[in-house]
Symmetry: C4
Subunit: 125 residues, 4 copies
């Protein structure tokens, strides 16, 4: 069952981290995530670039997903080279050294981590 | 990290702008958007055509997305050549001069801009 | 702006029409729809086949989408050759004489036709 | 209407079964499902592998979908070779002996089986 599946270049055109100014509940409960699956036998070296509407892109943010593992990357935990600003529209491009599958999910932990939405990211050919 | 990603022709088969007749809340809170990502080094010249169930298509609506930028296009802000009627089913085709990625998102600003739904648009081959 | 976009064979693997036994609200408010966009200059002759978990497929249900028009097909309005049973999991295959784009949407009319979910259907290659 | 549609290798990058520790309501109401459609004239022999963030993959879980039938596979009903742990992020790869279509859906049975989200799975080329 180790057939690799996926692509090495993905994009999520919609991203948003709620502002801190709307009270304690939203910041604690909503998580913008890129769910990444690496079915290969090699560690995936991943670089995420964040695009904005009114400034230069940020990143690359470097991270890894071990062989035959999945990882939920929360955008509000990306800190290096800079945190992603809250209350700001962004988009992301995810580049991997090996084929991966990426799904964009927004979680609401108020209801036992139920997702508010989830959609397949766009895979480059 | 400047690998372009995407296609030049996209479609969103479902669109809807709530009517004004249902009170102040829906019109202020719900936003039908096409989230567009342009990872290329050139400005994207974009033309949107709107299709209806019972009349000729409207448009093209012309807009641009700068190089290496994202833009959330709200359909209720498209005014030229004509506003998109409310309370009416529509679909859209998005044509770009350079490769882009398009995600269809319906936002609800009552909860700090949480999305109600989001799905990848259809990319032509 | 008349570049045709889409495919002639699509599938929606998840479908469900709420039962009538749960009271008046769900039956009046929830609509399982296939949003179909026909950007070509010809009428689309469409045949929908419905698949179930425990019986033979139903259909084909015949319908048309005019040239350069969109149509929201509600599954609970498909009556010929037989109504689709409520409270039953189903899937659908949508075949068209010309390229179309199909998006699967579940509407909730309690909130001015806001969608509960929407996802691109699967396009055959 | 028996044109087969689909692929034999699919991935769902996001999965989650609510914990039992949050009370009776979530465990009874939320169902993580893979909706599988088999339009071919042969039974689909399916093997599901589950990937985690911090341990070896589980499976394969073997199941079948009859010819020209659809089946909603609930992940919390997969028991052999081992139950899928609750309150744990996972991802899944679905391999079939014949072409199938897979849609990832999270159901909430509190509202007559309305889906909370639904998105097409990723089809390998």
């Amino acid at each position: 069952m180790s057939t690799p599946i996926g692509k090495t270049l993905w994009a999520i055109a919609e991203g948003y981290i709620p502002p801190t100014s709307t009270g304690p509940a939203p910041q604690m409960t909503s998580h913008e995530t890129a769910c990444i699956l690496n079915t290969t036998n090699q560690e995936a070296q991943i670089a995420i670039t964040i695009y904005f509407s009114d400034r230069e892109p940020a990143g690359p943010y470097q991270l890894t997903v071990p062989a035959q593992r999945t990882r939920h990357v929360r955008f509000n935990e990306l800190k290096d080279p800079e945190p992603i600003p809250k209350d700001t529209d962004f988009a992301s491009v995810i580049k991997s050294s090996v084929p991966i599958v990426v799904q964009h999910t927004r979680l609401d932990s108020r209801q036992a981590e139920l997702a508010l939405l989830s959609t397949l990211a766009y895979a480059s050919e």
